[in-house]
Symmetry: C2
Subunit: 380 residues, 2 copies
């Protein structure tokens, strides 16, 4: 039987690619979706097949708001939620509606490399702001704001991709204050927020949506399944209103009525909560396994922060090791990663590498780190 | 039980709104979707939950290409198809990638009013070209091309929305020749093409995608269910390549893997062909009913072309009747429509009104026309 391309991933045979930022296919909840689809489609209600409400099906938003309220630990109102077909399309819509080609936007250095691609398609001028082990440095932002008026600031406040840092509550407050003083929008990519291994991170930036300068992007891609193309924007009434009354929504209606109706059942049947619980256990194990292996085999060549949630470890390579130069050698050893330079808006971060622990199980993580260690010892 | 907003439509109680351009909820194929979802999700393949191939799942594109080849009567290759979440989002992506704010684009006068909204969000300068009862007047386009270089021309060649006209084969050829001579893109909205009441319209503009200047938008919204948010772009390799390598696709992967996997089963089980056949019978009946009623009750006040496919009748109101002025009176009589001015890029077409025959059954069509006749007699 010939095989055809059905997923985004095209991994070379035998390659262990720590660069993949996707859930392990073995963790995709096919049974839950089967159960939810049966539950939803058994009802005699064809409304999920009609053009949907622009803001998203209201029953779905009620279920989602309840789920978020419980898991964020801060109240989320259904009226603050706008349903999207995932964060990438949400971000694309935000660029269309809240920026113009040529506008300046601010991002963290490092930042999510594929967001940079979306900004490039919208011809935005991207300025990277320095970060430390607590995320965005607020003083650096303040200095930059004296020079430029950005259309928006794109930030990943919790379990940062790639840096795995989390912005403390105090910096979140300062950030929101600055957005109000200087009149710019904060576009917070909060897709890893729900993936804390234990306890709760500082409240998401979404708790500040009432200020009108914060827009929070959420998604089912990391907590349920990316193939659903289902996410949300949480924002205050003026921003929700602009989204709902965009030309795109006026024409096509709600952005994912059929899938959101099925995911409503996933939530209402308790399957989302159950799956999230399971994911946290698995990801915590994988993160601690990868961290342990890196300490054992790469301690001299690299250091990193122990992750407390999310998908990634951000390796700081020592002794002038250049990740992009290491990559071809690593690939000869059938292991790969994302070199730091991809996450830079100014061609920097050459001595960093992003490793994802979510995609592989322990034996594969071990084999991958062994290969990486061999590649490194050849490189040095 | 409180009712929450679940669909795009908010019809006032008792109102018959000929302005609605949507399928009748009674015609939404819930049973087919139930059957297809069960069929697809019973398989032990979680790939539909992973990030999908950027161009769209290849098995789905093979099934769709076969369906289109049969129903268009012209060959369609899976490699020419790029899966979208519906025409509105396809059009939005086309604007982002193939135009810049301030660019001029050409449309027909009249044109699809909600496309105008999407163009406005992208800050495009829209110029309307005159049409006759065979659609776009090619000589007028040629004259305009001597003055302006458009980013693209947006056209609805078959069963035009709202004008219900179809561009003959000879004009299609001339149009494509002009796009090659002048180097502009034709963005063909072909969503009504498959809804011919009998026989086949001239081959879709998609047959010219090999030229590289034609991009054809298709959708399941009119032939299956709009709530699926599933459509496609058919185009030549260079355009498909640009779409596949956009930032949006790089980040989020394929645009609707879960739903397209289920619709693949709809096609493979023969349910799409069956549903399309049924829709054509119903829409033909409704179109001929509405046309008969209009001839009976409005013959003196308006004229129109008998539709041979699609969703709409385009009323040409006589004696200086202004549709926008008639509208409040009509609404008092609990009937509504889309006034012609909505479809104009230059505030013209005041004496036209678009009536949709797809949404209502015969008794409702009859009641609606009676009310419209009463409103008109009061207006005159």
């Amino acid at each position: 039987m010939p095989t055809f391309q059905v997923t985004q991933l095209r991994l070379a045979k035998g390659l262990i690619d720590f660069g993949v930022g996707q859930p392990d296919p073995a963790l995709l909840p096919l049974t839950a979706l089967r159960q939810a689809a049966t539950h939803r489609l058994a009802k005699d209600d064809p409304s999920l097949l009609a053009y949907g409400a622009e803001q998203g099906n209201e029953y779905f938003r009620i279920a989602l708001a309840e789920f978020l309220t419980k898991n964020y630990g801060t109240p989320v109102e259904p009226g603050e939620l706008f349903v999207t077909p995932g964060v990438s399309q949400g971000l694309d819509l935000v660029c269309t509606l809240f920026s113009q080609p040529g506008d300046t936007i601010l991002v963290e250095e490092p930042t999510y490399f594929l967001a940079l691609r979306i900004f490039a398609d919208h011809q935005l001028k991207v300025i990277g702001l320095p970060t430390d082990d607590q995320g965005l440095i607020i003083e650096a932002l303040e200095e930059k704001l004296a020079e430029v008026k950005p259309a928006f600031l794109y930030t990943i406040p919790t379990f940062h991709n790639p840096a795995a840092v989390t912005l403390p509550a105090s910096r979140r407050q300062q950030l929101v204050q600055l957005s109000q003083q200087h009149g710019f929008l904060i576009v917070a990519d909060e897709v890893y927020h729900l993936l804390a291994f234990s306890g709760r991170p500082p409240a998401p930036l979404s708790r500040y949506v009432e200020t009108g300068t914060v827009l929070s992007l959420g998604s089912f891609s990391k907590i349920l399944a990316p193939g659903l193309r289902l996410g949300w924007i949480q924002a205050g009434p003026m921003i929700v209103d602009r989204l709902v009354h965009s030309g795109l929504l006026d024409s096509g209606g709600g952005l994912n009525p059929f899938t959101s109706a099925i995911v409503r059942s996933v939530i209402e049947l308790g399957l989302q909560q159950e799956h999230l619980k399971q994911l946290k256990v698995v990801y915590q194990q994988r993160a601690s396994t990868l961290a342990r292996l890196l300490r054992q085999h790469l301690a001299e060549a690299a250091s990193f922060r122990e992750p407390s949630g999310g998908f990634f470890i951000w390796l700081d390579l020592h002794d002038g090791i250049d990740a992009a130069a290491l990559l071809p050698l690593a690939r000869q050893h059938k292991v790969s990663f994302q070199p730091g330079v991809s996450f830079s808006s100014s061609q920097g971060l050459g001595n960093y590498a992003r490793l994802c622990f979510a995609y592989y199980d322990s034996p594969q993580l071990e084999e991958g780190v062994n290969r990486l260690a061999r590649a490194l010892s050849e490189y040095l």
